[in-house]
Symmetry: C2
Subunit: 98 residues, 2 copies
């Protein structure tokens, strides 16, 4: 299943650790606090377990894993200076375009 992961984390150190955990586990950073990637249930549970360990005793944090239908990626509207490489994000090609 394709997931969008968004977070709101006040503590810089915790935020960096969670970002690294998401990236190491195959998610693409599409905005500063937004990530996207295709995850199996097992892999998602593994990442959730790691995040739950990291936020233990932390305050002011919110992490959301939002499931997306792949079909809906075609209907994303992007307003930005440089558009994201959606084919790469969807896993349809290996190399990102620059």
């Amino acid at each position: 299943m394709l997931y969008l992961v968004t977070y709101d984390i006040t503590n810089n150190r915790l935020r960096t650790k969670i970002a690294k955990t998401l990236i190491k586990n195959g998610l693409e950073r599409i905005q500063y606090s937004v990530f996207m990637g295709d995850l199996t249930d097992t892999y998602k549970d593994l990442i959730l377990e790691k995040i739950n360990l990291l936020v233990n005793d932390a305050v002011e944090y919110s992490v959301l894993f939002i499931p997306l239908h792949k079909d809906m990626l075609f209907d994303i509207t992007e307003i930005s200076e440089q558009n994201l490489d959606w084919e790469y994000i969807k896993g349809e090609k290996i190399c990102m375009m620059f």
Copy 2:
């Protein structure tokens, strides 16, 4: 259609203006840079038009409108200190629980 709106905007003034535009037009802020709401196509186009006017001449901005299936809201995983009131966000009740 239900939309998740996420942004990455360096300029504080522009970020505040876009946040206000989203909230004034009925979107709920669910994280600092993440909003959610049910929008008709006409209303979405109107908001996009307003944002396009605001980002004119701006630099370092990215705004994404991501369509979501309402059914998928049931599968959102939330790791946070205080869970969001999803019934309110989905428009299933008028008052938010505190």
